[in-house]
């Protein structure tokens, strides 16, 4: 089956729109337990995708997602508690606050390379947690309690989470299929070469950092509404950063659907389903990570794509060129692979 160039170009966006619409509509029919689980999964998806844009496409391996979750969560919560703003305005303020943080930190962070960037972002997350812990106006270590009746819950909160996750997915699709994404990948793969070809390195990295921060902050606001009580130990916990890395790496960093799979495997499969056996869950998580790093360093999703193409691809002797080596997925820059792995 061949697709027209227009369909070929737009079908991922159409699929995302359809999936978003279906998920949004489910907010009216699912039970409270599933809706709550959905909110958690969608928030993790948004955070993991934001990390994926930065690290998977831009090569900026961040350990600071927690700082943006906390900034978004606290911005929304403090505005609600101290100014009495309505929740939509509080939600709108969350990405703005997170972007401001990203902008503020970019001057220092974007000068760092490789491991130094990662350590720098981790230090910021830890420092921000300590700052909040000692900030009395933000409730100090005991945190802030949101007015339960003034924040969305149940189906409404789920639908907000759907929109946030959809926005994160849309940004990832853009990074995957746009010229901007190609330039970002060029910086990731060989920064001096990209700079030599005229790519504005700092400007492109900033252009990845700002929306990634905004999406993470937006997810932080949704998490604050879900948790109702937020404290430095909850929304500013470094575990948000670690989970973002784990989910994107397990699923497949630098792909569109990898983090989605990672969230399903890590949160739903390991954390949630094995929550009555936490030790076992931790052990499996560790083994899984080691196995992935050893046997599928690109993550589970690219592995599944290769396996599928191997199963569906031409048989030996069919006379058609073999398309099942998986090499394209590993080496080709984003946007240049065949349609079969278009969402990868």
């Amino acid at each position: 089956m061949t697709l027209t160039p227009t369909l070929r170009r737009w079908w991922p966006a159409a699929a995302l729109l359809l999936a978003t619409t279906v998920c949004f509509a489910l907010g009216g029919v699912l039970d409270n337990g599933t809706l709550d689980l959905g909110v958690t999964l969608l928030c993790y998806l948004a955070i993991a995708q934001a990390w994926n844009i930065l690290a998977g496409f831009g090569g900026l391996v961040s350990l600071g997602s927690a700082a943006f979750v906390a900034t978004g969560g606290y911005a929304a919560a403090l505005l609600l508690v101290h100014t009495g703003l309505s929740w939509p305005l509080a939600v709108a303020a969350a990405p703005v606050a997170a972007m401001l943080l990203a902008l503020l930190l970019s001057a220092a962070l974007l000068r760092l390379r490789g491991d130094y960037f990662s350590i720098g972002t981790l230090a910021i997350a830890i420092a921000l947690q300590a700052l909040i812990r000692n900030w009395d106006w933000a409730g100090g270590a005991s945190g802030v309690t949101l007015p339960v009746d003034a924040v969305p819950s149940g189906g409404n909160l789920y639908q907000i989470a759907v929109l946030v996750a959809a926005l994160a997915m849309a940004l990832t699709l853009y990074a995957r299929h746009s010229a901007f994404g190609l330039r970002l990948a060029a910086i990731r793969d060989n920064e001096p070469a990209a700079a030599g070809l005229g790519v504005a390195v700092r400007r492109h990295q900033l252009a990845a950092l700002l929306p990634a921060g905004a999406i993470t902050g937006l997810a932080g606001a949704v998490i604050a509404f879900q948790f109702v009580v937020i404290s430095p130990d909850s929304v500013a916990s470094v575990s948000w950063s670690l989970n973002a890395v784990l989910m994107a790496v397990v699923g497949g960093m630098g792909t569109v659907l990898g983090p989605l799979l990672g969230v399903a495997v890590v949160y739903y499969g390991l954390t949630r389903e094995l929550q009555s056996q936490q030790t076992l869950s931790l052990v499996i998580e560790g083994i899984l990570l080691i196995a992935i790093v050893r046997f599928a360093p690109q993550g589970v999703w690219p592995l599944l794509c290769r396996a599928t193409r191997r199963l569906l691809g031409p048989r030996p002797g069919s006379g058609r060129p073999a398309a099942d080596s998986g090499k394209e997925t590993e080496t080709a820059p984003p946007g240049t692979e065949p349609l079969a792995v278009d969402l990868a």
Partner: protein
């Protein structure tokens, strides 16, 4: 999208609109709970069983009470005997995990009520109880520290003020210069504890030489210790997480700070204190239970758990868990229908005697008796009140 025919576009738009309308319609699906049935009644807890804090003894207390009730055929609700199903989830000492687990217990497992964890996590859990409109019966949080919530959290535990009064009565029996160094964690529990104990110290004729609040996880206490030494404080009141107290006690020894009396609130109550060896000897603790106070069910708890938990404070934690679950199940049996709302109402009307003594709530709090114990050779012995107590010894570990 120019390749799509207008009719196909219209169809797509209609489907999207229909789905959106369905989505915006809201839902009336609510937790079915275990009300109005004859099946088991689910109660749940997200408790720290690994990580920084291990509360296995409290969990054993919960299980003991539930097993005892189920062995008797269950709890009588509206004239029908119903079994209790206790769902215990380990939150690995992580607040995020705790919040997510509590929500899943109520929304997915349909727990009609919750049992608490410990300390700061209990405060974080209160918000979830309020948001989910599900009663939370807790201990392990001194009654003064329970924040004002929306009425779904019930705290039956000892009072800091009661413990402080007993400590100062005890301190008066030994010779000190009455100068106090107060060191607490900078979280809500630590700060409130510090203020309350310092205030009562002044009332009892003591001088607050220095007050320090440190973040949880502090490893360098040299400035705190220096402040104790420079002010000559001979009484030390510490309210911190166990690992922080461990670090501070070791550094006190290294820097030769030798107070005459030291009490470790929260930290010295944990079983890990015995791992300090002789360094921990002489440290005082506030206890919620002793085996010599004549409290109900003492012998049963000792018989069942003395081998597993030789230390008095661990047995006290078993008693605490047993007490919490007893109070909750008593309310469930009086609720008539075992729904969250009616259990919450029943908790307000609690008037019973549990393993920690009489329980009757006022403003969602019920104070249980306090005792002062002292570590000696890896064990705690009651040193105050005098009835059933052994004589106070010196703070040998730091000398």
């Amino acid at each position: 999208m120019r390749t799509l025919r207008p009719s196909l576009r219209l169809a797509c738009a209609t489907v999207c609109a229909a789905l959106l309308v369905a989505g915006c319609a809201g839902n009336d699906t609510s937790s079915a709970g275990s009300a109005n049935s004859t099946g088991p009644i689910v109660i749940g807890t997200s408790i720290s069983l690994s990580g920084n804090t291990v509360l296995a003894s409290i969990k054993d207390g919960y299980q003991l009470a539930v097993d005892k009730a189920n062995a008797a055929g269950g709890v009588t609700v509206g004239g029908v005997k119903r079994k209790i199903k206790l769902v215990v989830l380990d939150n690995r000492s992580d607040t995020n995990t705790m919040v997510q687990q509590v929500r899943s217990l109520v929304l997915s497992d349909h727990a009609v009520a919750l049992l608490g964890s410990c300390c700061q996590q209990n405060i974080d859990m209160q918000g979830q109880a309020d948001a989910l409109k599900t009663p939370l019966m807790m201990g392990a949080l001194p009654v003064e520290l329970l924040p004002k919530g929306k009425g779904y959290t019930w705290d039956s535990f000892q009072s800091l003020a009661d413990g402080a009064d007993k400590f100062y009565e005890l301190a008066d029996t030994t010779s000190t210069n009455k100068k106090i160094l107060v060191v607490t964690s900078n979280d809500a529990q630590g700060k409130s504890t510090g203020q309350l104990w310092a205030g009562l110290g002044k009332k009892n004729g003591y001088t607050i030489a220095s007050t320090k609040a440190v973040p949880t996880g502090t490893t360098d206490f040299s400035d705190v210790i220096q402040s104790g030494k420079s002010t000559g404080a001979q009484v030390l009141i510490a309210s911190m997480a166990p690992q922080d107290c461990f670090a501070m006690w070791k550094q006190m020894k290294a820097l030769a700070y030798k107070p005459k009396l030291a009490i470790g609130l929260q930290c010295a109550q944990t079983p890990g204190w015995s791992s300090l060896g002789t360094l921990g000897d002489g440290t005082l603790v506030q206890l919620n239970w002793t085996d010599s106070a004549g409290l109900p069910d003492t012998q049963m708890i000792v018989d069942k758990f003395a081998k597993k938990y030789p230390a008095l404070n661990d047995l006290g934690s078993v008693a605490l868990g047993y007490h919490e679950a007893q109070v909750l199940m008593n309310a469930i049996s009086r609720s008539g229908d075992a729904t969250a709302a009616s259990v919450n109402k029943a908790l307000a009307a609690t008037d019973m005697t549990s393993a920690l003594g009489p329980v009757k709530f006022t403003a969602n709090k019920s104070t249980t008796p306090s005792f002062i114990g002292q570590w000696e050779n890896g064990r705690i012995q009651q040193v105050w009140p005098a009835k059933g107590a052994v004589p106070l010894k010196s703070l040998a570990g730091l000398r």
